[in-house]
């Protein structure tokens, strides 16, 4: 996984609550056997008409937001299915930070596996950042993972919480499987004990 670097960029405002994974990447694009190339279909049914032309008032189709790196969204972002195609599509489009009041668990966890930082902040902060985001290119939001801060355009810094282990993996681009293999003796021992005590498994 690539290392996460600090971001200072345009944020797309998506105030809708409960933006689900079917919206983020509709099922017809789950038929791929690759991880790449999904950015073009990010938010497909909100972004394109049936004939494939762009829906001009959708935020990511507006000139100011075509290169957005951040999404500021309504609460419970990423609810619904476990499809990792959702973070794959966000990342492939160029989004590396999402800011919302809350996330669905599986989506939240999937983000960290793909170099995306999902930031949780209280409503008051989201309201300010949503307003900033609505100013398009005139307002850049800065995210610093090491110091765990989001800076609004007026200079206000919001501190966010992030699990120390997840932060460490994201900052260093660490591969989970490689890390687990370092502890594989513990898994061997667990399995050995399980065969003794729970032979039916």
């Amino acid at each position: 996984m690539e290392k996460f670097t600090n971001v200072s960029g345009v944020a797309a405002p998506m105030p809708l609550v409960n933006i689900d994974t079917d919206m983020i990447i509709p099922k017809q694009f789950l038929k791929t056997i690759k991880r790449s190339g999904l950015g073009v279909n990010l938010f497909d049914e909100m972004r394109y008409n049936l004939d494939g032309s762009e829906i001009s008032n959708f935020v990511l189709n507006k000139p100011a937001y075509r290169n957005a790196e951040i999404i500021v969204a309504g609460e419970n972002f990423g609810c619904g299915s476990s499809r990792e195609h959702a973070p794959w599509a966000l990342k492939d489009f160029g989004i590396s930070v999402v800011i919302s009041e809350s996330y669905a668990d599986i989506f939240y966890s999937n983000c960290f596996k793909n170099g995306i930082l999902p930031i949780m902040l209280p409503k008051e902060a989201i309201d300010v950042l949503m307003e900033d985001a609505s100013k398009g290119e005139n307002a850049r939001i800065s995210v610093d993972l090491e110091n765990q801060t989001v800076s609004a355009t007026d200079g206000t810094e919001y501190i966010f919480e992030v699990d120390a282990f997840k932060k460490h993996c994201l900052m260093n681009g660490l591969d989970d499987i490689g890390l687990t293999f370092q502890k594989i003796d513990a898994v061997d021992a667990y399995e050995k004990a399980q065969i003794e005590t729970k032979p039916w498994l």
């Binding site: 668990d105 966890s109 498994l201």
Partner: protein, 471 residues
């Protein structure tokens, strides 16, 4: 004496293979279920790194999301991308030596129906799958939840997951359900009460008299939709019904192993005085047959209610409701029982089991679906289909005008050819009413199998309590 534990605490503690100082754990996984949509990238990752599947005997694969449900599917899948995905699973299952039920196998079906049916799912286990409806298996008192593809690869390679413990929530349904009210209505009403994010960060244990009274099929329906309330996993303590369901299944333990397992399983309950971070209590008699009206599973109301107005809500939900009503083509104040439907879908991992088909067939016996109605039954597995044929249910469905399909996920998520057209309105026994879920522009109303059957006859969302046939 050790501190009292919840059922979740007990299963969690029994599966921690390693715990770091900060509480990050390696949780051992007893069963890994795999389907064709969320696994190809994981197998490819293993291949690229020269890794193997650590426990192929604990790994079970079945294609379900993409497979057509028409009987001609044995001749192959027309859609090229779907075919490639199913072929990739064929190849990966063989190459990595995992258990596999191909499309041609009568045991093939929706992964969450096949697992319990084949005795892969047992009490006290940890069960994962690259699918959010893995919560279904919690009905057996197993800790079961959905994972992403990176985690699928992690489990394939290490048979563990990197996890931190969730919080405990108790959802108690007291008393007895009234006639016409089902497990589906229970689970939708819980979501209506908590909202789709209410369960985020929690594992839910469902308990109480109404839960105990449910069959295993009903309990699977309840746990299946735990994820729609935001909880990764839902649990129900195993009891004699659970043990009877498991006993004799092809992959359930036998002989002395069974006795040993049973002894262990009998300790799978929440200790008295165990701590829950949140407790929700609902009276069973307060639950009415319910339907969804919007585009989130929390948008649920009793069938005799009216479509709400945006101003009935607060905060960000107001805009969401405006959008949902426009998408659904509904007007505030409109009676839900007046909403006319075009299509009925009976199936899915929520309601595609034999009991669901029995409940729908009971309503459809001697009836005809409304003229012009499109109606299909997609059994959850080949074995459910075979049993329904043996019991004469298939004939009832076909006589009524339903299409009788082969097993798969089908129109629940419309990855196969079973899809809604824009603005086509469907009464569905599935689990998600998201925009575009059943086909772009399609409008979904979630409800129970009996209510779906009644709607197919009247052509409208229908109160099963007052339904008296297609007069």
């Amino acid at each position: 004496m050790s501190a009292p534990k919840t059922l979740y605490d007990k299963i969690w503690d029994a599966h921690v293979a390693h715990e770091a100082e900060d509480g990050t754990c390696l949780l051992y996984i007893d069963r890994h279920l795999v389907h064709e949509v969320t696994s190809p990238q994981a197998f490819e990752g293993l291949r690229m790194a020269g890794r193997t599947v650590r426990a192929p005997d604990k790994t079970i694969a079945v294609p379900d999301h993409n497979v057509p449900t028409t009987t001609d599917r044995v001749q192959g899948i027309d859609n090229e991308e779907s075919r490639i995905q199913v072929d990739a699973l064929d190849v990966n299952a063989k190459e990595f030596g995992i258990h596999y039920y191909p499309v041609s196998d009568v045991r093939q079906g929706i992964v969450h129906i096949v697992g319990p049916e084949q005795g892969w799912t047992l009490p006290g286990m940890t069960v994962v799958c690259g699918d959010s409806h893995t919560a279904t298996h919690g009905a057996f008192g197993s800790l079961a939840h959905g994972i992403g593809t990176s985690e699928v690869e992690h489990v394939l390679a290490t048979q563990t997951l990197i996890q931190k413990k969730s919080k405990n929530m108790k959802v108690e349904i007291t008393g007895s359900l009234l006639p016409g009210v089902t497990a589906k209505d229970i689970t939708m009403n819980v979501i209506g009460k908590t909202g789709t994010a209410g369960g985020t960060g929690y594992v839910i244990e469902y308990c109480g008299q109404a839960i105990e009274a449910l069959s295993m099929e009903g309990r699977m329906t309840v746990c299946n939709m735990a994820i729609e309330g935001g909880a990764r996993a839902g649990l129900i303590a195993p009891d004699q019904k659970t043990f009877d369901y498991c006993n004799g299944r092809p992959n359930a333990p036998k002989g002395s192993d069974w006795d040993l397992a049973l002894e262990n399983w009998k300790g799978l309950y929440t200790d008295e005085d165990a701590n829950f971070d949140q407790i929700i209590t609902i009276k069973a008699e307060d639950i009415a047959p319910s339907v969804t009206w919007g585009t989130s599973p929390e948008d649920v109301l009793p069938i005799d209610a009216v479509v709400p107005a945006p101003e009935d809500f607060k905060g960000g939900k107001i805009e969401a409701v405006k959008r949902a009503l426009a998408y659904m083509g509904l007007t505030p104040g409109q009676k839900l029982s007046d909403v006319e439907i075009d299509t009925v879908f009976i199936g899915s991992c929520t309601n595609g089991r034999i009991e669901d088909l029995r409940a729908a067939a009971e309503v459809l016996k001697g009836q005809k679906i409304k003229n012009g109605m499109r109606a299909m039954v997609v059994p959850g597995s080949g074995l459910v289909r075979a049993q329904a044929e043996e019991e004469g249910l298939a004939q009832i469905f076909m006589d009524a005008g339903f299409e009788w399909r082969m097993a798969g996920c089908s129109m629940c998520l419309a990855m196969n050819p079973d899809q809604l057209a824009p603005e086509e309105r469907c009464a569905a026994t599935s689990n998600r009413n998201f925009e575009g879920r059943q086909g772009r522009g399609g409008r979904t109303h979630l409800l129970s199998p009996a209510m779906a059957a009644a709607a197919s006859i009247t052509g409208k969302l229908t109160d099963i309590r007052t339904f008296n046939g297609g007069a």
